[in-house]
């Protein structure tokens, strides 16, 4: 790997990091796990003047149980997220989705916050935080602000995190009783990116689905909620047959891209099939 020349700083606190970003000017960039940044540097698609390494800022690491929600530091690695007991118990959907990210080497270095801030439409975790209505805490020169997941993902590789800002943590509300979840990922090789991914959380009471939240991966420039499936599911019986019918509208409101893995028609077909599978699995159907 031979990137262009860059400077490198490793601050110890969020405030220092924000200051370093500002001092570095327009071309400064955050690096955390480097699993998306290094490929860009290697191909010289990015040529930052300064890299501000946030991987060792204590405040940005670890998992905290707040009672009705869970807060995860943005610099927590995928590996630490998916093996954390609080996450496994209260945000199982995130643990399950994180287990499908790439391979063990990438999971040991890549971070939860990095995966969200990068805004890759094929990333698995954006759909999860969208489905779970998470809130992101962002720090900048003017202080901290909270951004809801639905406002966080702006466009291809573009999020609400400004060029001089840092994603500090992610807070995810716990799902109450009766909820089941599932992340269903359709990929071509086991360590490959999602062609389509579906994050489903479904509440079942007395054999009927009473609430559903579905986030779609790689079905548009940003993760999207399959809202018409969500409404069609409400009141449906938790049976494979009814779920399949409700899932027929999964592609509504998406903007499927065409690439080597899937053209628009096939990707939309997959949205329906994979949504049905994810919901069935979440509903125990």
């Amino acid at each position: 790997m031979i990137p262009s020349k860059f400077d490198y700083v490793r601050p110890n606190s969020v405030d220092e990091a924000v200051a370093a970003l500002k001092a570095g000017g327009e071309d400064s960039k955050v690096i955390t796990g480097g699993q998306s940044m290094l490929p860009l540097l290697r191909l010289r698609l990015a040529a930052p003047s300064v890299l501000v390494d946030c991987a060792r800022i204590d405040e940005m690491k670890g998992v905290k149980d707040n009672g009705d929600s869970v807060t995860i530091g943005a610099a927590t690695t995928h590996w630490d997220v998916l093996h954390n007991d609080i996450v496994k118990t209260h945000v199982k959907l995130l643990a399950d989705a994180t287990a499908t990210v790439a391979d063990p080497q990438v999971r040991h270095r890549g971070t939860f916050g990095g995966a969200l801030a990068h805004g890759d439409p094929a990333g698995d975790l954006p759909a999860v935080v969208l489905a779970l209505d998470a809130t992101m805490e962002i720090a900048g020169a003017k202080g901290r602000r909270q951004v809801a997941a639905k406002d966080f993902f702006v466009d291809y590789f573009t999020t609400a995190v400004g060029p001089d800002e840092i994603l500090v943590s992610i807070t995810i509300p716990k799902l109450g009783k009766g909820w089941g979840t599932c992340y269903e990922k359709f990929n071509r090789t086991a360590s490959g990116w999602a062609v389509v991914g579906v994050a489903a959380a479904v509440k079942v009471e007395g054999g009927k689905i009473t609430d559903a939240r579905i986030g779609l991966t790689n079905c548009a420039a940003v993760p999207v909620r399959a809202s018409s499936v969500e409404s069609a599911l409400k009141g449906a019986s938790a049976s494979a047959a009814e779920i399949e019918v409700a899932s027929q509208s999964a592609a509504e409101g998406t903007r499927a891209t065409s690439d080597l893995a899937a053209d628009k028609e096939y990707r939309e077909h997959l949205m329906r099939v994979i949504t049905a599978r994810a919901v069935s699995c979440a509903a125990g159907a």
């Binding site: 790997m1 031979i2 262009s4 020349k5 290697r42 191909l43 391979d103 359709f186 071509r188 090789t189 086991a190 360590s191 490959g192 990116w193 062609v195 080597l260 893995a261 899937a262 053209d263 096939y266 077909h269 997959l270 099939v273 994979i274």
Partner: protein, 793 residues
């Protein structure tokens, strides 16, 4: 003198590979590890275009970058701009365009070399590429082979007036013989199969260090190559550096699969520049460069027609290929399809065979050898069409094969293509494989799943393959117009302390030669495996050799080891007889010890003889000191391993995703020197063959942009994508070499691809599917299924 443990036969033991500790921990010398004082690092500017005129090239801007010592385009390079050689002019009128290391005024594929920079560090060289000004004017590109041979197609080489490289024909029974056989047929099945383009994607990227500062003024080139010996000859011819002043070293090499059987542009440039500038030149490619500039493999359109009687007896086979050469010819580019030519009839008996091949230029990376080289293509086509014929005849596909294959009592057997197969037992391998696979049970399950309309259907795929390995004898290669020979060399030296140096002309790049060769020599000499050191891959220490490719190293090189060892023992016998005061005939040699027949107390170990040969105090008159011998063996013929491969596939009819449920293969490679190494070779080969069927394929757009230019898009499967293989073997010794061995390096890659595709087609047959393009990725299978369903309506 060391105490001698009783020698246990080494051949046949699954010894762990002695080389693995250093290879797996990286505690060894890879080419990129080599750091020479004063070295200049080379970076290459490559064409981003498929086909274009270079309207402007100004390298002077690069010279302003820090650390840069020189920059060259073709103009600046002048006479140093050597051309990549092709050593296999398959026909007298073959069109062979010039292939300069740096493009002269026109680029013909994405990745073509345009200019280069030499700088103090690799990073400086890479940075300075940005200072080169180059302007292109796009020319129409031709990518599709059918298009390339149409009149009016854009030309890859306009001065040649055609995109056709050559037309080759083989009609062993004469013109019209196939038509006559076909006239008697009740059933004729014709198909076009597309054997897609693959990228070797070995683990260690190509790397070269060329140093003009050898101890005796020689120019040393270290290269991540499979073929140091072949490379030395070619580099001497291309660059003009005298062959005896050129030393080529292949240090430990991290995989090749044929992709490092080459004399590359970058190797030529490093040698020419080191020679001119008097400084070491180093170059290591990036993965992106590797994907577009290392030669590719396969890429054939296969029109195949098979004729049979209604009860399934084969009458004739006709094969018309169009083979993609890419933009230029490299070392054996045009010959690759011809290596497959002989193998289309495979294990089957029939009356007539008709083959033709058109080689075609396109604006793509040149093709050349890739694991199996021609035989995977032929095996795919014949094993696929056997299934289609069975379907047409309403026969069980294995029954059709049994009806037509050569029976074990019929060997040696001369096939319709004119080859004489040494030995084989297709019945035994098949019986064993079917039992391990539980063939009948799976067929029952398939019936049940079809009846219940299961969304996930089960398919069973068969491949009863054979292949030819050990490219030899030299006379045959000459008849095919291949410039080099097919022999192999070995020198064995027993040192004064009884340790052994075994010098081989084969050049391992992951195959475990050091262990296997030690096992052969150990049994011949009666000296423990651990006392044998295998020396390879350096033309200074092992001056003669034809290197490693085409499953030849054991099949050919093994014979030289055996013969050299026997010669050592013959010489040692003379010394032992002299000192034990008996005649050589009175000695028996067992487990490394010479004993006088009838008086076993009189004995001498070979290690002791080695010391006597060194001190030379008491040798027979006229016998030269030292205990060593060499042998160069040109084998009698090819050998023909075979096997039965069976694949059970689950195909999700909703998504088109195929998942292998089980894979069984029983290979017969004759005598096995080291069964553990054999198993490893089979596993790796299976992974690559399955990869062709399910995952890998190089894709270009119509302008010649390589769309699969990274490992994110070119899908090399990993362990989680593959099942746990069940591998087993039968043993039918080869009759063409004294070890009874056949090759195994390519078997898995050759056999598995059709087994996998046959399984998918079998799963989807009830929907009207009778072919699935490769790689059978989910979208492709889904589309194929949809088209068949609509066709059926």
């Amino acid at each position: 003198m060391t105490e001698l443990a009783d020698h246990v036969a080494a051949i046949g033991r699954p010894l762990k590979r002695k080389e693995d500790a250093r290879l797996l921990t990286g505690k060894t010398q890879w080419t990129d590890n080599i750091q020479l004082a004063g070295a200049l690092h080379m970076a290459i500017l490559r064409s981003p275009m498929g086909h274009a005129k270079i309207t402007k090239l100004d390298v002077s801007g690069a010279l302003k970058y820090p650390g840069v010592e020189a920059a060259y385009g073709a103009d600046e390079l002048g006479d140093l701009n050597g051309s990549v050689p092709c050593v296999w002019p398959v026909t007298d009128d073959m069109v062979a365009p010039d292939f300069p290391a740096l493009a002269k005024g026109e680029v013909r594929h994405m990745g073509d070399c345009v200019a280069l920079v030499l700088a103090g560090t690799a990073a400086q060289a890479a940075d300075a590429l940005e200072g080169i000004v180059v302007e292109y004017s796009a020319l129409p590109a031709v990518i599709d082979m059918d298009d390339a041979i149409k009149d009016g197609s854009p030309l890859v080489h306009s001065d040649k007036g055609t995109n056709k490289c050559y037309t080759y024909k083989l009609q062993p029974q004469g013109d019209g013989a196939y038509e006559a056989a076909k006239a008697k047929a009740d059933v004729v099945v014709k198909r076009r199969f597309v054997n897609q383009r693959l990228i070797p994607a070995f683990m260690e990227p190509r790397a070269v260090v060329a140093s003009p500062m050898g101890t005796s003024g020689e120019l040393t080139i270290w290269s991540a190559t499979q073929v140091p010996h072949v490379l030395r000859v070619l580099l001497a011819l291309v660059t003009g550096v005298s062959e005896n002043k050129l030393r080529v070293v292949a240090p430990d090499v991290g995989g090749g699969f044929g992709g490092k059987l080459q004399c590359y542009r970058e190797e030529i440039l490093c040698v020419a520049l080191a020679n001119k500038l008097g400084r070491p030149i180093k170059w290591t490619e990036t993965r992106s460069e590797d994907m577009m500039a290392t030669h590719h493999g396969r890429d054939q359109l296969q029109d195949i027609e098979i004729a049979a009687t209604k009860d399934g007896k084969l009458l004739g086979l006709k094969v018309d290929l169009i083979a993609n050469m890419g933009a230029y010819l490299q070392i054996i580019t045009p010959g690759i399809p011809l290596l497959g030519m002989f193998m289309y009839p495979a294990i089957y008996k029939m009356d007539a065979y008709d083959f033709s091949c058109i080689g075609v230029f396109t604006n793509t990376t040149p093709t050349d050898a890739y694991r199996g080289a021609g035989r995977p293509e032929s095996t795919y086509a014949i094993e696929r069409i056997m299934d289609e014929l069975a379907n047409e005849l309403g026969m069980e596909p294995m029954e059709l094969r049994k009806k037509n294959w050569i029976k074990h009592e019929e060997f040696p057997y001369t096939t319709v293509a004119g080859l004489t197969y040494d030995s084989g037992n297709y019945e035994a391998a098949t019986d064993k494989a079917m039992a391990l696979f539980k063939y009948d049970e799976l067929r029952k399950e398939q019936v049940a799943r079809r009846a219940s309309g299961d969304k996930v259907q089960l398919g069973i795929g068969i491949s009863t393959f054979t292949e030819m390995c050990g490219l030899a004898p030299s006379r045959t290669l000459g008849a095919l117009k291949y410039v080099a020979g097919g022999w192999e060399h070995c020198t064995i030296r027993v040192l004064p302390t009884g340790k052994v140096e075994l010098v081989t002309g084969t050049s391992p790049h992951g195959q475990g030669h050091e262990t296997a060769w030690s096992q052969i020599a150990s049994d011949t000499l009666g000296i423990p495996v651990d006392d044998i050191e295998v020396i390879h891959g350096d033309t200074r220490t092992s001056p003669y050799g034809m290197d490693t490719y085409g499953s030849r190293s054991l099949a050919v090189g093994g014979q030289a080891i055996l013969r050299a060892g026997e010669k050592v023992v013959e010489k040692a016998r003379l010394i032992a007889a002299h000192q034990l005061e008996c005649s050589a005939n009175d000695l028996e040699f067992d487990n490394g010890v010479f004993r006088v027949k009838g008086d076993p107390s009189k004995e001498k170990a070979i290690q002791a003889v080695a010391f006597e040969a060194f001190s030379a105090h008491d040798l027979p008159d006229g016998l030269e000191p030292t205990l060593q011998a060499e042998s160069t063996v040109d084998p009698q013929d090819f050998s023909y391993p075979h096997g039965t491969h069976l694949c059970a596939m689950e195909v999700d009819t909703e998504t088109g995703k195929s998942t292998i449920r089980s894979y069984v293969c029983v290979d017969d490679i004759g005598i096995q020197i080291n069964p553990l190494i054999v198993e490893g070779q089979v596993h790796g080969g299976l992974a690559q063959g399955i990869a062709q069927a399910l995952y890998e394929g190089a894709v270009y757009d119509s302008d010649g942009q390589l769309l699969t230019a990274s490992l994110a898009d070119y899908l090399v499967p990993g362990a989680p994508d593959l099942p746990s293989f069940v591998t087993d073997h039968t043993v039918t010794p080869s009759t063409t070499n004294p070890l009874g061995t056949k090759g195994v390096g390519e078997a898995g890659a050759i056999a598995s691809t059709p087994a996998v595709i046959n399984a998918i087609v079998d799963a989807l047959r009830p929907y009207g599917v009778n072919d699935v393009p490769m790689p059978a990725l989910p979208m492709t299978v889904w589309r194929t299924l949809n088209a068949a369903r609509q066709g059926g309506k």
